[in-house]
């Protein structure tokens, strides 16, 4: 346990010392929130769908977490290139713990960023449907973040250089994000798009958060939760497997 804790703590310290990066990583989702939220709000309301600002907040929180977490594996590449990974690989600790410690650190950061976005949304007039459900939202945020960080760590363990890592993650992040229903409702879209969205795990995370934050849901919270749990387990196992096979 102490091993996982110290590796988690390492990431927290690095995050705290990252200074401006902490702030900058919230800017992009914030722009989405403000520009799209206020830009489309009137049209959305005219179409009888209620407030777009309400609708987009869960999507933007999911986006923040996705963007923070899916690039997490870059830290593994840095650890490889700057040699620190070797220090953990020759230590008498299991690779599983090494992976979990780092990934929990990444997931914590993802959740913090998500909460920052949430607080900003409150300031701009977001109305939470039930405060107790916020706890459930934090759980969902943690699951999403941990799943994405694990996936990214697994990629980071396989790939040895930054350009390849960025190519893989950039290739994935845009379709994951745009075809997830984070920016628009999933009913009334073309069948192909709907089909893609329904195999995109992020759709379920966004939908689940929409259920807990504004009490709207496309798939239903139980389905969302089941898919998220399944995805999380698969991605954590994938990452542990890749870590165990890493040679220096």
């Amino acid at each position: 346990m102490e091993t996982i804790y110290i590796l988690w703590l390492r990431q927290m310290k690095k995050y705290r010392r990252s200074g401006l990066r902490m702030v900058l990583s919230v800017i992009q989702p914030l722009v989405y929130f403000l520009a799209l939220g206020f830009g489309f709000n009137a049209i959305f309301q005219q179409a009888g769908r209620g407030s777009y600002i309400q609708f987009i907040v869960p999507g933007v929180i999911a986006q923040t977490i996705l963007f923070t977490s899916i690039f997490w594996g870059a830290n593994i590449i840095f650890d490889k290139q700057f040699g620190f990974l070797k220090e953990t690989l020759v230590a008498p600790v299991s690779r599983t713990k090494v992976m979990l410690g780092g990934a929990l650190g990444g997931a914590t950061i993802g959740v913090i960023q998500g909460l920052v976005l949430f607080i900003i949304a409150l300031i701009f007039g977001f109305h939470l449907y039930s405060w107790p459900a916020l706890l459930l939202t934090v759980l969902l945020m943690s699951m999403l973040s941990f799943a994405m960080v694990s996936f990214s760590s697994g990629i980071g363990a396989v790939v040895n250089d930054m350009p390849s890592f960025m190519a893989v993650t950039n290739f994935l992040v845009v379709p994951l994000f745009f075809l997830s229903g984070s920016m628009f409702p999933l009913d009334n879209i073309p069948g192909v798009m709907k089909a893609i969205a329904s195999i995109n795990p992020l759709s379920y995370a966004v939908d689940a958060m929409r259920a807990t934050l504004i009490n709207q849901s496309h798939f239903g919270l139980p389905v969302d939760f089941a898919v998220m749990t399944g995805t999380l387990v698969v991605l954590v196992v994938f990452s542990i497997y890749r870590f165990r096979r890493t040679e220096a």
Binding site: K13, G83, P92, A248
Partner: protein, 266 residues
């Protein structure tokens, strides 16, 4: 006396390349052992196998009687290692790097703190313990790495080109620490270097590897006598030839190697 390191018929192949080819040797407890060879001869591959970072394709290796392949976790507690390239976290302080290492090696908090203080003082970095490591010079980082490698009381210290890229003053200082540790704690030292004078003056015994095979092993005197030369450098060139070698390296290694060459050549 039982050998503390024993390497028996060890081979490592990467595809068709025999990086290490049927190598046998033993190192006695408390010995200072130098492992020399041209670039790409198999030095780092051997150290990686001995330190559980690579699995041998064939053969067996034991550290203090523990099978390196079958009992990895137990074997990892026996040695400390200073890698060719720095392996510190630059975004942590010197103290935090040490503490993380202590936790990874399962040291109790109380003993950990005292040992960290002792070692960081030994390498003369105690007044900088709360400084981020990324601000350290190359020599300071190497000193801290040596202190870190010693934290968990290893029986064997592996040093892979510990003095590469350091000035003469820092090199002298490092070898002075290492010799003191060897004398005071009876620690076995296994190191590689390209500075043959270092091997000659410090090592009890020297092994030379070339094209994955051991070509000679013995004291510096014995190697000189064997080759009829009057210094280790001549003996070494006699044994390994004077041809310059190309290295076959894994992609991460080759990139680091390239960067290093550019820096060294400048």
């Amino acid at each position: 006396m039982n050998p503390i390191i024993s390497v028996h018929q060890v081979t490592k192949t990467f595809g068709k390349l025999h990086a290490v080819d049927d190598v046998n040797f033993t190192v006695g407890e408390g010995e200072i052992f130098a492992f020399l060879g041209p670039n790409g001869a198999g030095k780092s591959t051997t150290i990686k196998m001995l330190t559980t970072l690579l699995l041998p394709s064939a053969g067996s290796m034991h550290l203090a009687g523990i099978d390196v392949v079958k009992e990895q976790a137990a074997a990892r507690k026996i040695f400390g290692i200073v890698f060719q390239d720095p392996s510190l976290d630059g975004d942590l302080t010197a103290f935090e790097n040490m503490e993380l290492h202590g936790v990874l090696y399962g040291m109790e908090r109380k003993k950990r703190g005292a040992r960290i203080e002792e070692l960081v003082k030994l390498v003369e970095l105690w007044d900088r313990k709360d400084t981020l490591v990324k601000t350290f010079s190359g020599g300071m980082k190497r000193r801290l790495e040596i202190a870190r490698g010693l934290l968990h009381h290893p029986k064997i210290l592996f040093l892979d080109e510990p003095t590469l890229g350091l000035d003469a003053q820092t090199r002298n200082l490092l070898w002075a620490y290492i010799r003191r540790l060897n004398e005071q704690e009876g620690m076995t030292i296994f190191f590689t270097t390209h500075y043959l004078a270092e091997a000659e003056s410090i090592a009890d015994r020297i092994a030379i590897i070339d094209h994955g095979k051991l070509v000679a092993m013995g004291t510096a005197d014995a190697l000189r006598q064997k080759t009829g030369t009057d210094n280790l450098e001549s003996a070494y060139l006699e044994l390994t030839g004077s041809q310059v070698r190309d290295e076959t390296l894994s992609s991460a290694d080759s990139k680091r190697e390239m960067i290093r060459r550019v820096i060294v050549n400048r």
